[in-house]
Amino acid sequence: MQFYLPVAEMSANIFIFIAMGGAVGFLSGLFGVGGGFLMTPLLIFSGIPPAVAVGTEAAQIVASSVSGALAQWRRRNIDITMGLVLLAGGIVGSFFGVELVGVLRRLGQFEFFVSACYVTFLGVIGTLMMIESVNTIRKIRGGMVVGMRRSGQHNWIHGLPLKMRFQRSKLYISAIPPFLLGLFVGLLAAIMGVGGGFIMVPAMIYLLRVPTNVVVGTSLFQIVFLTAVTTILQARLNYTVDVVLAVLLMMGGVIGAQFGVAAGERLKGEQLRFLLAGLVLLVGLRFAWQLIAEPRDLYSLSPGGA
């Protein structure tokens, strides 16, 4: 069944997009990630204008993270203070990101920039995750007991001013690093059409040394609000949110995620991380290929703004 998308201004087969939402929802439930880094590329490769894909995906991430955030809230796994500081930075970052999307679109460099971001971040994160998971799997095979290490050692972050107490994280650190982290992730969220959990979670663990049990909840908490703000900004400034497309993706996504969560419970953490790393690297490679391979047509058209 075809449906004419009001903002993307194209006729789309609704079942394809529901299925796409379902597949990505399944994977995001399985791995406990937002799925933005999978969905946005899929949308772009299926012919949705990149800017609309990025804007619309922000809305779909709201839907897929809100239930997760609520579940974490019930389990008291959210450090609200930390979440708010991250969010404050995130909103500032998102605002600049949305502006930057507009500027890059006018310059004709948006697609290149998005591809380059995907290659860089997916490449780095995928590689790190791959190494870590392979090491863990090897150690477990070797019969070692692996525990998440949490060293109390101080690093440069502890020398910064504006110290705040983050009760649930049991931290007393400067507000500047979480604010900057939030800003950076907000910027990326707006440009790449992702929630940014894949950067937020490792950064919180390794840079801010937030306890792991609080990390996922706090990250989800800030993602819900950040992507909500990004959606509104994209709609307001770039007119690139397609509500029909968003609803199609949500329909598939929320259902797929439930099955993904169930499937994920049967796999071990390091196996999941290994699979996720492979997936992340594949998407990154797909983007790299697009940058390196000679395009079929050197020319492209875009409507010229005033």
Binding site: V7, S65, I232, L233, L298
Partner: protein, 305 residues
């Protein structure tokens, strides 16, 4: 107590949604004064308005001067609804005082030009920079028709002179794509030519520029028709249709008729919402997303142990 929290959240979202729609409805009511051309397609403008009745024409036996052409389209207003997936427009017309012995005789030639809204288009060219392909040069063109179709009874160069086609913008090579004032970078004439042909080629690939030299057919001595495909990716707006009647490279008569593509129903509602009230639209999208997420988590929630 937990279900109470969820219920409260769902209720809250529902209230927000309802309020949004109410606000919207009020907004829609207030903005009823839409641009005038959206409502009705204007009446066809006959270029050769003065013409005698058939009897008068027969009395003055001056061959070639009497014929005139009239035409219309199958739908003056095409609705772009949510189920829009491209459409076919039939353009039909008649030659008044046709001297043509039969439909197959090829006595007259007809050229039909359908043009969409002109707009600004930026063409970009990728170049390999240190192993990466990125857009390095661009050309901006003004007044590029969003859609352009030429249908005729025979190849255009057999119907009308080069000068005529150039002055009337008939055929791809005579499309007036004017380079915009103040280009991003200086472009040579060679470059501009390449960008120009790239615009036409890419538009053709999208099915938006069509040239079909045998698609106008005479059905009788005076009646002719042609079908033109409007693809799903066509830009909404007014279209002009020009019909030219030729006899041995001489223009006998010309006629033009407008047709309009309009958004209708839900499609129109959502589009005008997204572009007219973008902030509210953003909030509504977020509200829908939150509602969908909460709904899913309540429906699929594991039963309490």
């Amino acid at each position: 107590m937990r279900t109470g929290l969820v219920r409260a959240a769902v209720l809250g979202v529902t209230v927000v949604l309802a309020a949004t729609f109410l606000l919207l409805a009020a907004g829609e009511g207030a903005s009823q004064g839409q641009p005038p051309q959206r409502k009705k397609a204007p009446a066809p403008v006959a270029k050769e308005a003065t013409q005698g009745t058939p009897q008068e024409v027969k009395r003055e036996q001056q061959p070639g001067a009497r014929e005139s052409v009239q035409a219309d389209v199958s739908a003056r207003t095409v609705s772009v609804t949510s189920s829009f997936n491209g459409t076919e427009i039939v353009i039909f017309g008649a030659v008044d005082n046709s001297q043509q012995p039969s439909a197959e005789s090829g006595y007259y030639d007809v050229v039909i030009v359908v043009e969409g809204v002109p707009g600004r288009v930026v063409a970009r060219r990728k170049n390999n920079v240190a192993g990466l392909w990125l857009n390095t040069s661009s050309a901006t063109f003004d007044a590029v028709p969003s859609y352009y179709a030429v249908a005729s009874t025979r190849p255009l160069d057999e119907i009308a002179s080069e000068e005529f086609r150039a002055s009337h913008g008939i055929g791809f090579q005579h499309l007036r794509l004017t380079p915009a004032f103040g280009q991003a970078q200086a472009l040579s004439t060679e470059d501009l030519k390449e960008f120009r042909s790239a615009v036409i080629r890419l538009k053709q690939k999208e099915g938006l520029y069509v040239q079909d030299p045998y698609s106008v057919a005479f059905i009788g001595r005076s009646l002719f028709r042609s079908a033109i495909e409007l693809p799903a990716n066509v830009t909404v707006g007014p279209f002009t249709t020009r019909v030219f009647l030729f006899r041995e490279e001489k223009l006998l008569s010309q006629y033009s008729v407008r047709l309009t593509l309009e958004r209708e129903g839900l499609e129109r509602y959502l589009h005008s919402f997204a572009f007219g009230y973008p902030t509210l639209y953003g909030f509504m999208t977020v509200a829908i997303a939150v509602a969908a997420g909460l709904l899913a988590s309540t429906v699929f929630r594991k039963p309490a142990h």
